[in-house]
């Protein structure tokens, strides 16, 4: 896209949106948000960056192939379910631990891992489609 303003703002906007998407993902358990919404926000961020600077830049920026990201997400979600089996409770039962880091108690759970998996699948799958469409659409 030719607009100088858009090209200049896009990287900042993208970074902010990425950050926000992770924030939305992490707070999802107790307040509006979660992996699915977070993922969608991240995809929008990537789409903006792509429109401003071209698909190649986005591909370089995310380093991995989007489908690999989606695959990793599906893997993480499945592992989150399987951990429960190792702990001898039914598949997908949420497990929680509360380690303390510098005096702050941080709740971690398999549910968290699962939601991160959802986030990654959404980011990977949808951005992969959007990017491939964008890539050749501009020819």
């Amino acid at each position: 896209m030719k607009s100088v303003i858009f090209r200049t703002v896009a990287p900042f906007l993208t970074s902010l949106m990425m950050l926000f998407s992770i924030f939305v993902l992490l707070r999802g358990h107790n307040e509006p948000g979660g992996g699915f919404i977070g993922g969608l926000i991240a995809v929008s961020a990537l789409a903006i960056y792509g429109i401003a600077h071209g698909v190649e830049t986005v591909r370089r920026a995310i380093y991995f192939h989007p489908m690999a990201i989606a695959g990793a997400g599906l893997f993480a979600a499945t592992v989150a379910g399987l951990i429960s089996i190792i702990a001898r409770v039914p598949f997908m039962t949420g497990l929680w631990i509360y380690p303390s880091l510098f005096g702050v108690e941080i709740p971690l759970s398999t549910v968290m891992l699962f939601d991160t998996g959802v986030y990654l699948v959404v980011v990977g799958a949808i951005s992969s489609v959007a990017l491939s469409l964008e890539e050749r659409g501009g020819e």
């Binding site: 999802g28 509006p32 919404i37 489908m67 599906l74 979600a77 699962f114 799958a125 949808i126």
Partner: protein, 785 residues
């Protein structure tokens, strides 16, 4: 080991042997046959051990539970009928394995061939010994499949491939018919085992489903046993190597249909339908088979058509159902297996040693192949029904069965005499013409066959003689128990070589006379048959090709119609169906919503948002170009998202916002990618149907939602989640807790779907781009040239 375990072993041993046959053959060459023949010998000995019990009138059953919940078992039934078959299969099987060792000596795929033969043996063994319906069906289809493999063994030739496919289609299709028939029997009687069915009584015959069951079972039996008009696959199956023809297509597999009819005779037989259909088709097969046999000059084809005729005779006798007819069927079945197996193997020897099996190119072989000549003569004497061979005894009994003086018997007697006379002529044409007369030069220099080749037919021919000479023993062990099993009540066979002056002997003499006349005028007869067949022109064989071609054309037409490959057609069909389901269902069941309830005090900002949604909708419909329409779709979506927000669903609203944004982006991208024209230029006439479908869908969804929300709201689930979200799942956001915890497995499935969809879209995009690129490369290359 107990008897049950041993029987199970005997049933599975051929399959094990089939597994090791290729390896053994690699190490031992054709001599592996000697070792592999031990398997059928072992099963033969095992089943022979049952003979005293069976001869005493007992029935042995055994087995294991297979699917107990459906009352399906892996079980066997050994009575006179199945024992005779088991002994024939393993006995002749032994000889065939040996014969194959000699016949395919040095063939690169001899191991594979022996493996197929043993597999077939196991299937056939299982078929005749099956007690449970389902097991019978499984083995029935297995024989079809192994027969397919064996006929197509020489897969380099197109004729062999076609014959194999034809046999599979005909017999496999018949198998499905049989399955349907057996399921009806199962449903009517509630029984899944033959041993129980046989004592079920007459209820089956009186059931309204009797005719359907009978026709379906006959569909299976007639295709398998090559009854007219399903006979055409049998002569074509002669493309298979000769051991296969001798074993499958004369002695055993083609008799599976006859076996089934005999097995079911006590429960399905003795009705007007049975006594009409079976003799009718049997007689038609007998006469047409015998007549077609005369037409041929190829030894194997002549034998194939006489086999068809013999099968017709067996079906005819089974259908008549009188005591003598049943006994005659039992005797003739055994006699036929012996002499036809031997004659096929003789034909194979002649082919193998001289390089030709055309009757007109053979002659004077008696001095080169004396042993083969003797075997052929012995088998032909039995086939022609002359004493002192077993065939004579069988024929006496056949004529005894037909010698009552009502019109029906006389018609069938006449047809049988004609068929037998023709078969007599063919038998001696095969046994005499290649061996007598002046010596004819053959492609290969003829000499006597090696022991592996002549052993089998010689033993079979001798059996035909010894069974007749010791008819008392043969009847006690085989014929009487078998007849009893077919009839469903104790029978004793008494006929012997000593002829009684009576109608049967006269009929035999007449057959002999006509047969000799036919034999002497065989060439003239052949010419006449050729003329008749040329006049008819069309036959079931060509009909099969036409049927297959028609089927393909039909499938292509249907596929073209349903799978046009145009997205707009698919979309139209899908949405039309959605509209029909949404509108027709509530009308049909009176589930239309009552008039919607409008709240009087809607706040002004809510009304404004709704107005925006409606405005967006109009903007979509009225937009001048597609891009505007896509963006306007976003307006409407955002308005809905705001409404979600106002009604306390922030998660839903949030998601809706993101989805709307992304779909506008993706739709715009797709539009530019597909290079659509900026606006829709179609005339109103074409747009109207689409808009009607859209309106109908919208109306349907609207009604559906009104109806759904009109029902009183059940708050049980809401309360549950609100109550336990924090305490069980440690989360305050109920929506998210439901997604990742309460219904986490659902979500796992959903994200898998998201990923797979992404992959599918990606590959579609790549595919299209790739083909465009390749096309460009090609045109560039062409330019350079």
């Amino acid at each position: 080991m107990d008897v049950a375990a041993l029987t199970f072993l005997a049933l599975s041993l051929p399959f094990v042997a089939a597994l090791v046959a290729p390896v053994l053959t690699r190490f031992l060459g054709h001599n592996a046959a000697w070792l592999l023949a031990l398997v059928p010998v072992a099963t033969f000995v095992h089943f022979l051990g049952f003979a005293p019990e069976i001869a005493a009138g007992e029935v042995v059953t055994g087995g294991y539970a297979w699917i107990p919940s459906f009352n399906v078992s892996f079980s066997w039934l050994i009575d006179g009928l199945s024992l005779t078959f088991a002994l024939l299969i393993s006995g002749i099987g032994t000889l065939i394995v040996l014969y194959s060792g000699g016949y395919l000596k040095g063939h690169p795929h001899q191991g594979r061939f022996l493996s197929f033969i043993l597999m077939f043996m196991g299937s056939m063994q299982g078929l005749v010994l099956s007690d449970s319906f389902l097991m019978l069906f499984v083995f029935w289809e297995l024989t079809s499949i192994t027969s397919f493999l064996l006929i197509g063994f020489d897969h380099g030739r197109e004729a062999a491939r076609r014959a194999a496919l034809q046999a599979l289609v005909v017999t496999g299709g018949g198998g499905l018919s049989l399955l349907a028939g057996l399921l009806i029997l199962w449903n009517v009687s509630g029984i899944t085992q033959f041993s129980l069915l046989l004592s079920f009584g007459t209820e089956l015959r009186e059931s309204p489903f009797y005719l359907a069951a009978l026709l379906l079972v006959l569909g299976g039996a007639f295709t398998k046993s090559a009854q007219f008009p399903f006979h055409f696959w049998l002569p074509n199956a002669m493309e298979a190597p000769t051991p296969v023809s001798a074993y499958l297509h004369s002695a055993t597999m083609v008799k599976a249909g006859v076996y089934l009819l005999m097995r079911l005779n006590p429960v399905l037989g003795d009705t007007p339908e049975w006594q009409f259909l079976l003799p009718l088709f049997g007689a038609a097969t007998l006469v047409s088979g015998a007549a077609l046999a005369v037409r041929q000059t190829d030894l194997k084809l002549m034998l194939a058509y006489t086999t068809m005729a013999s099968l017709g005779l067996l079906v005819l006798l089974t259908g008549l159902g009188s005591p003598h007819a049943v006994e005659a069927a039992a005797l003739y079945l055994v006699a036929h297996a012996l002499f036809k197996g031997a004659l096929f193997m003789v034909a194979g020897i002649i082919d193998h040693e001289t390089g030709s099996r055309d009757l007109t190119r053979l002659g004077g072989l008696r001095s080169a192949m004396p042993l083969t000549f003797a075997v052929a003569l012995a088998a032909a004497l039995s086939m022609g029904g002359l004493p002192p061979f077993f065939g004579f005894i069988a024929k006496e009994e056949i004529y005894e069965a037909l010698s009552s003086f009502d019109r029906r018997s006389m018609v069938f007697a006449g047809l049988t005499v004609l068929g037998n006379a023709l078969m007599f002529a063919v038998a001696f044409a095969i046994a005499l013409k290649p061996f007598l007369g002046p010596k004819v030069e053959t492609p290969r220099h003829a000499h006597e066959a090696p022991v592996l080749l002549w052993l089998g037919p010689a033993i079979l021919a001798l059996k035909g003689l010894s069974f007749a000479l010791m008819s008392g023993l043969a009847h006690r062990v085989i014929s009487s128990p078998m007849s009893s099993a077919i009839a469903g009540e104790p029978r004793t066979v008494v006929v012997s070589l000593v002829p009684h002056i009576g109608v049967p002997l006269i009929l035999s003499a007449v057959t002999l006379l006509i047969g000799i006349v036919f034999y002497l005028n065989l060439d003239r007869l052949r010419a006449v048959m050729a003329l008749i067949l040329a006049d008819i022109g069309w036959g079931p064989d060509r009909g099969f090709d036409q049927f297959i071609r028609g089927l393909l054309r039909f499938a292509v037409a249907i596929t073209r119609r349903l799978q046009s490959g145009r997205l707009d057609v698919y979309m139209t069909v899908v949405f039309l169906l959605i509209a029909v389901v949404l509108l027709a269902t509530p009308v049909r069941y009176g589930e239309l919503p009552r008039a919607p309830f409008f709240a009087a005090d809607v706040p002004a900002h809510e009304l404004a948002i709704m107005a925006i949604a409606v405005a967006g909708l109009f903007a979509v419909v009225l937009a001048a170009d597609r891009l505007t329409a896509i963006v306007s779709l976003g307006i409407q979506g955002f308005a809905v998202a705001v409404i979600f927000l106002l009604y306390g669903a922030p998660d839903l609203s949030f998601t809706q916002f993101m989805i709307e944004t992304l779909s506008v982006v993706v739709l715009a991208l797709v539009m530019t990618r597909l290079r659509l024209s900026p606006s829709d230029h179609r005339p109103l006439r074409q747009k109207l149907p689409d808009s009607m479908i859209a309106l109908a869908c919208g109306l349907g969804f609207g009604l559906f939602l009104l109806r759904a929300t009109g029902a009183p709201f059940d708050a049980t689930l809401t309360d549950f989640y609100n109550l336990y979200s924090k305490s069980i799942a440690h989360g305050a956001n109920v929506v998210n807790v439901i997604i990742v915890d309460f219904r986490g497995t659902d979500t796992l499935g959903e994200i898998a779907v998201v990923m797979i969809t992404g992959l599918a879209i990606l590959s579609l995009v790549r595919l299209r781009a790739g083909s465009l690129k390749r096309g460009a490369d090609r045109s560039a290359a062409e330019e350079r040239v």
